[in-house]
Amino acid sequence: MIDDRHVPDFHHCSDHCGEQPSILDLPHIPLGLKQEWLELETRRHFLGRGAKALAWAGLASILGRTAPHLLADTGALIDRRPHFAPKAKRAIYLFMAGAPSQFETLDYKPKLAGMFDQDLPESVRGGQTLTGMTASQARLPIAPSFAKFAQHGKSGLWMSELFPNTAKLADDLCVIKSLYTEAINHEPAILSMTTGNMFPGKPSLGSWLAYGLGAINEELPTFVVMTSKIPVRTNVQALSNRLWSSGFLSPEYAAVALRAGNEPVLYLQDPKGVSRDVRRAMIDGVNDLNRQLFERVGDPEINTRISQYEMAFRMQTSVPDLTDFSDEPASTWDLYGPKAKEPGTYAYNCLMARRLAERGVRFTQIFLRTWDNHTNLPTNIKVMCEDSDRPTYGLITDLKRRGMLDDTLVIWGGEFGRTVYSQGTLKPDNYGRDHHPRCFSMWMCGAGTRPGVSYGQTDDFSYNIVKDPVHIRDLHATILHQFGIDHNKLTFKFQGLDQKLPGVLPSRVVPELLV
C-alpha cells in the first residue's frame, strides 16, 4: 500500500485535484476498494509524467517490499518478462466463426454411415435442452457426414476430403476432438472463446498477451484483427469489436482491426497538402494539450490517447511496407492461391498474417464467419472449405519453410460444435446441423505443440466426450503456457478481484498437447 509517510510528493495527485470530493472521502466503500483505486490512479498518473517515471522507478526500488506490488499493472513499468522461457513468440488464430461442423471436418464418425435417418437415442442426448431452432422438431434424425475421410501421413490422422491441402499437414497438426464450452448461442460462445467469459467487458486473449508481454515491434500494434470477405452469402455470423476489446485493461491493448482494401487503417494517410512534418507538429501540439489536461485531472485514458496518436504516426511508415506485397516471391502465390492477391479475402489475410508475424506482431486473429450451417450444410461447407483450405495450408507451409513455425503458434477452430441430428429436411446430400456446445474439434500447430496427434475422444455420435475433455479455459491456459505465461499469474486487479483470462474456475495446461 502507498504510505504517505515515505512518499511525500505524489499521492495528492491521485484525487480529483480538489475539484470534487475524492472517492476516498465517500462513506460505505470498503477500504480495500479504495486502496485499489488509489493505487491504480496514482500509478498511472505518476507514470504518465515522462521523465519522472524513471525517478519513480528509483523511488519504488527504495520502497523495497512495496515496489513490486506498485509496479504490477502499470503501463510503463510492468514486469513483462515471461514467467518461464516461452516456446511461442507470436500466434495466428484462425477463428472459424459460426462454428464449423466437426462431422465434416475433423471428427470422423464411421459408424454413422449405417444410421442414416435413424433417431438419435434418447440415452445419448441425456435430456439436454436443445436450442429453439430444433426443440420443436418432431424427430432428431441422424445425418451422417457426406464428406469422406482418409488417413494421412505417418501419424495416420483421419482428415476430411474437404481439406485436401490441410490434410497434407497431418503430421504437423495437434488435433483436439474433446473441446467443450457452456454457451449454446454464437455471441456468448464466441466471446467465451475470445475473452474467456460469455459476458462482454473482459479483455480478449490478444489483449492479455499485449498487456503481459508487450510489443516485439513498437512500430506496429501488438494485436491485430482481420475479418475476411465471405465466400457465401448465407449463415453470416455477426462480429463486433467486443471480441477484440481490451475490456478493463488499458485501451492500448485492444486489437487494431485492419480493413480490406487500399486503406487498411482508416485516416492513416496524411490528407492532401499536409506534409509529414506538419502532421508531426500537429500531433506534438495535440499531445501537449493532452498532457496539460492529464496533469490537471489525472485520467489515465488521456495517456492512452497520447500513445494512440504516437502509434498512428509510426504506423504511417510501417503499414505501407506491410501491405506492399510486391516483394513476395512467385512461390507465395502457388502456396496461398490466386485469391491472396485480392484484399480482404481469407487467403489475403493469411498472407498478411505471415507478414505481420515476420514483423513481430504478437497476436493476429483472422475471422472467417460463414460456418453456421443450419441448412444446406453440404453445399455451403464445401464453399467454405474450398475458400479456406489452400490458404490455411499455405500459411503453415510458408511459416515452416521460413523457419517461423517453431515459434509461431497457429490455432484453427470455431466456438462450439454442431449436432449429429439434422435440422430441417434430411437427405443424404442435404441436411443442416444445429449448435452443440458439448463437444467440438480444433487444431493447433507449431510453437511446441505436439505434432501429428489426435487428443480426446467423443462417442459414436460426437455428442458426448468419452475421453480427455478439454474445456476452453484449458485451451487458453495451454496457449498462455506456450508464451511462457503461468495462466494463474497473469492477472489484473479490477473490481476487487485478481482478474485473469481463464477466470476463477479451475483450468489447467494440457501437457499431452505439448512436446
Binding site: R81, H83, F84, P86, I216, E358, R402, D406, P511
Partner: protein, 281 residues
C-alpha cells in the same frame, strides 16, 4: 501450472538431498509430482489411482493395491516403472520420459523399507547433473547496463524469462534498419548474456558475423533477409551452443551451410530462398 511447479520442487529437493534426511515427503513426493500426478492426482485419476498422498498410494487403484510394503519386486508400481519404454503398460504412459535410474532406485528403497509415511529410509544420493546448465550468466547485475547499451544503439535486450539465467534476447524488429555491424560490435560487453539474436531484415553483414561468432552463449540466430554470405556464416563455426540458424532469403549457398553443419548443438538450419535450399537434414 502443474508441470512447472513440479520441476521446481524437484530441483529444490535435489539441492536439499544431502542435508535433509530421506523421507517420503523429501524424496518420493517430488518424483511422483514430476512424473505421475498429472494423471494420478487431483485433476485426473487414471485407473482410479491417486499418487498425491501417502494414504492414496496405499489405497491403490481400480484393480487393487499397487504396493507391497517391504517387497518392491512384488509391487505393481515397481513393475510399471521398470518396463521397457516401448511396453504398452509402462508408466509414465503416453510416451512421457521414463523415470531416471536414480528415481527408480529411490522408489525401490522406499518400498523395500516398508513404504513409511514419515520415517527415514536409506535412499541413494541424487546425481546433481539433472539440473540443466544455465543458458547464460545471471543477468540481474548487468541488466541495467545491457538495457542502456542497447537503447543507445536503438536496439533492445530483453530477458528471455524471469529465470535469471535464461539469458537475453536481442530484439530489433522495431527498427531493423538501425542494427548494423557497428552496433553489433558495441554489444561486446554484454555479449555473454545474449542467447537469442533476432536479426532478420537488419543491416548486419559478414563483418558483423565476426563479432557474433564470439557470442558463446548464443543458441538462436535469425539472419533472414540480411546481406550475409557463406563467408560470414563460416565465422560462426565456434558457436558451441548454437541450436538454430535462419539463413532464409540471403545470399548463402551450400558452402555456408556446410561450414556450420558440424556445430555440436545445431538442430535446425533454414535456408529458404537461397542457393543452399533444400537443406539436407
Amino acid at each position: 501450472m502443474p508441470m512447472r511447479r513440479a520441476i521446481v520442487l524437484f530441483l529444490a529437493s535435489a539441492g536439499l538431498a544431502a542435508a535433509e534426511p530421506a523421507t517420503f515427503g523429501s524424496r518420493v513426493v517430488p518424483i511422483l509430482e514430476k512424473n505421475c500426478t498429472v494423471c494420478h492426482g487431483a485433476e485426473k485419476q487414471k485407473a482410479e489411482l491417486r499418487l498425491d498422498s501417502h494414504a492414496a498410494i496405499l489405497i491403490g487403484a481400480k484393480s487393487g493395491e499397487i504396493l507391497k510394503p517391504g517387497n518392491a519386486k512384488a509391487s505393481e508400481l515397481m513393475r510399471r516403472i521398470t518396463l521397457p519404454e516401448a511396453d504398452d503398460d509402462v508408466m509414465p504412459s503416453d510416451g512421457k520420459p521414463h523415470l531416471r535410474p536414480e528415481e527408480i532406485a529411490v522408489l525401490e528403497k522406499w518400498i523395500a523399507a516398508g513404504a513409511p509415511a514419515t520415517a527415514e529410509f536409506d535412499a541413494p544420493a541424487m546425481v546433481p547433473a539433472v539440473i540443466a546448465p544455465p543458458a547464460a550468466p545471471d543477468y540481474r547485475l548487468r541488466l541495467a547496463q545491457a538495457n542502456e547499451l542497447a537503447a543507445g544503439l536503438g536496439l533492445r535486450l530483453v530477458p528471455r524469462s524471469r529465470v535469471v539465467t535464461d539469458g537475453l534476447v536481442l530484439r530489433t524488429a522495431s527498427a531493423p534498419g538501425r542494427c548494423d555491424d557497428a552496433a553489433i560490435a558495441k554489444l561486446a560487453p554484454v555479449a555473454d548474456l545474449i542467447v537469442e539474436a533476432e536479426l532478420a531484415r537488419t543491416k548486419v553483414t559478414d563483418a558483423g558475423l565476426a563479432s557474433i561468432g564470439t557470442w558463446q552463449n548464443l543458441a538462436q540466430l535469425d539472419l533472414a533477409r540480411t546481406a550475409v554470405t557463406s563467408t560470414g556464416v563460416a565465422r560462426l563455426a565456434s558457436l558451441a551452443k548454437l541450436e538454430s540458424l535462419n539463413l532464409s532469403e540471403t545470399k548463402v549457398d551450400g558452402a555456408g551451410v556446410a561450414a556450420v553443419r558440424a556445430l555440436p548443438a545445431l538442430k535446425k538450419v533454414w535456408a529458404f530462398g537461397t542457393a543452399a535450399e533444400p537443406v539436407a537434414p
